[in-house]
Amino acid sequence: MVDARDISGKQKQIAVSEFFEKNKHFLGFDSLQRSLITAVKEAVDNSLDACEEARILPNIVVEINRLKGEDIELISQDNGPGIPRDAIENVFGKFLLGSRFHAIRQTRGQQGIGITGVVMYAQLTTGAKTRVISKIANDSSAVFVELGLDTRKNRAIKSKERREVWIDENTGEEVRHGLKISTIMKAKYQRGKQSVYQYLRMTSIVNPHATISLIVRGKDGEIIEEGKWIRTSERLPRVVEEIKPHPHGIQLGTLQRMLRESEQRKMTSFLRHNFSGVSVRAAKEVLSTSAIEDDRMPKRINSEDAKKLIASFQRVKLLPPPTDCLSPIDDLLIKKGLSKAIDSRFASTVTRLPTVSQGNPFQIEVGLVFGGDISADGPIEVLRFANRVPLMYQQGGCALTKAIESIDWKRYGLDHPGGKGLPKGAAAVLIHLASTNVQFTSEAKEAVADNEEVFDEIRKGLLEVGRGLKNHLKKKDQRKKAKEKFELVNVILPEIAKKTSKILGREEPDLAPVITQIMNAVFCEEELGWDKERKLATCSIKIFNYTARARAYTILLKWPENENITIVENSNGGRKEARGIWAWRLDTLNPGTSTTISVSLSGLSKGDWTDTDIFFRGNGDIIGATKIDEKILEEIRKSEALAAIRNEISESESQETNEIVSEGELVKKEETNNSDGINIFADFEEGSE
């Protein structure tokens, strides 16, 4: 990351404290309430990033104690790798700004000014030093040190440094590795939508691998608020690859600096080594389009030529940037995260495939929960995240919110008065934007700026979860109706017959033909369950023929097929119809009879599989199942084939990065990247919109 001193290197040196004062609104220290949230955020983000890099499952404890007046003590402790003694000064004493431009990847830290801001704020408001305890696994003891800032020289002042064995106050055990900081600042603890509690709750949703706890104490040591979010996944986010910038996202100033600092002697090698997505062929084409010779020294390229280069970048066909620099949370984990924070009846989550906007890879994840304990009054709750960091302010001006507002939610079963603003009802919507370059509306970094591609991707994700909700509600309704019919024919009708017989002194009539006439339909009921002992997700599908004719159907089940999840038990055999779709051809079902199909899946955890779709093929309707659209099946098979091609290409690419790619292969690759892949299943019916 770039040091504030370097950035302002050629400018007039200003005192950092002055800089802080002037800019505290966008540094997040503009009010007493927000300052506390920002301080917690800097500490927790650092802990999560450090644990992720060191491949440690994070345990983070945040303590907030109200002292006299407006003074608040903030303590944050993690089980991360700790900071080596010599690095402490830098981490806590230097102002860090923005993100690197030579190497790009998705990090949380992009969004803050770092923990130094906290040290600074504490010092400015109360004069307190920030106490740090750091233990790295390799050292026999921990470093205890107090830090202040020399605001004119922009560096930390250490004091009272000592080494000692660090015994955890709560457990009484020696801490093997970790970091603890505590400081005192002027701040205000407040509950509600914009609170430390809400910040940590949201953080826990998008970091299902973290255990986070919060204790807030009042002046007399009484507990005011408490929260504990235990990890629901043992899986750490994957390590993200650093990538070079892509020419489509480059700005003139940046390009000029890159040229200036370049070590290369030839333009082709400059282009190939400093950018992603530029093959030899593409580099040559860029140069010829810009009328720049290959043997020009990059250092000597003037601004006129640099402008030409920028223009050619847009004209020449380039490979898209790689997307493995992104760290999506994964839809199943979002579901877990959401369910640990919100009690609901229905949850649907989608992780879209990564895509690119102006040279920046990005990826959208969307989740929707409905029902249960969620309040049905007022607008839905919106949970916005950028690179796993909760966005808590400026909800109305954020592109993520606007995308939600752009959907006609009435079609998906939510109340949406006038089709404007946020829909109402017992729902919460989560949107996570993962990107190497999240563009915000302002330096406050609380609202994502408008971007058509991002907006479209979010909409697609929302439509998909919306459809899930619609199906869920429809199914709920069908289920209710079916239940009523069953009660009618199994309970009420026999009682009516018994009563009339008794009143009239006549024999009870045979009700079978009456029942057939009342029901006059085939019913399908599925039940998803969990076999605790054998750790299997179970599904049983029961089909009743309440019509006067014999029926024959093929029943299709949607199941979460992947490398780890397999069908281990299957009562009726059947066959794989497409990825995630299993089919059974049933024997003829005579009037008044029923049959049951049971399957068990391994590789899932409890609560992973709570909702599914049943389809059928055959004549006449089945209540509780949807007639399969053969076109949709075709699309699934097609996207499967595409996914296979994609895998092949990404494998071959990793072997021969930046090698010349034949024209044919290139086209194939572009296609792959533009396709919606597996999501086609959901987008299909949306074509009508």
Binding site: L488, I492, L493, I496, K499, T500, I503, P509, V514
Partner: protein, 369 residues
Amino acid sequence: MSIVGQRKTKEEVKDALKDIASEMHNKMEKGVPPSMTLPVRSKTNIGFDNKLGVYKYGKKKSTRDATSLGSARQLLRSLHVTEFIEQMIDSGKSSTLREMYYISEAWGHGKFGSQNESNNLAEDLEIVTKCLREDFKLRPEEDGARIIGNVTFEERNRKGDWMRINCRDDVGDSGYGVPYNVEAEKLTLIEEDVDFIMAIETGGMFDRLVENGFDEEARCALIHLKGQPARSTRRIMKRMSQEWNKPIIVFADCDPWSFRIYASIAYGAIKTAHISEYLATKGAQYLGITADDILAYDLPSDELTKQDLSALDSELTDPRFNTGYWRDQINLMKEIGKKAEQQSLAKYGLDFVTDTYLPEKLADIGLGY
């Protein structure tokens, strides 16, 4: 033609109820869902019966069959009620509608969800069997009206003796309480010395007229309707009008709900259109308060609420109000956007109603005194 003469015997009532069960049983034997056929009970299905001079249900029928859970439950309840009534007839007991609602607790899936359901079902059975609630040994707990004036009834008391009551001399200030059953087996109209009968919506106004001695001054009998009048109240008015040949005058608030009170007295209520000829008094006249009165007497008034306005609009499509007089009154009321209570007349003093308002209004309709 007396309704009382058409009253059914116990056996006829039981048979009529059994017909309902038979219809269901026969259907099931044929392999089709059991059902019960009823007239549509809404304002879209009432029409003026020229012969009877009241509004009756039209030809629209609805079939309640066991293809939905709600209807099937209704059928089951009908059978439970049938059985219950049979038992009461056999044991010589009667019960209130509310008691039946509680008794239904023991009927399992046939139990009522609300009192309203049991009331409606009792009416359904009346319609289908052409019997009266009284035949079913079911009675309401709503009490009937109060009467003050120089009229004399004979009522059979609990001991079975006939008791003679003059509604001016033998009663206190609260008047004669009308029993729930006012049929011949319970009540006889003996004699009268009045020129007309005035039905009054509110208790406050009834008491005012009693205190001012209006019944003697204007030679009339006063009836307190207690809001929407009970069946027995409407029935006794009908008998007084029919057997004594006296005009019935309705004095109510000026608001849409009071208009409906009048309509139920004069033309029949939508809910009881199956027995309109037995309850409604054709020729009952609406005296006031009218929208004209609000203007003419400059009465203190309230703004019409949203509900009032939609009630007025609904009345404009109600065939019972499809007369020039009512259309004018309703439209005028909408125009001025006001409603007024009977007691707003007190603006001009406690005696204004008996000294000025009523004499003037009665003179208008030829009942001056």
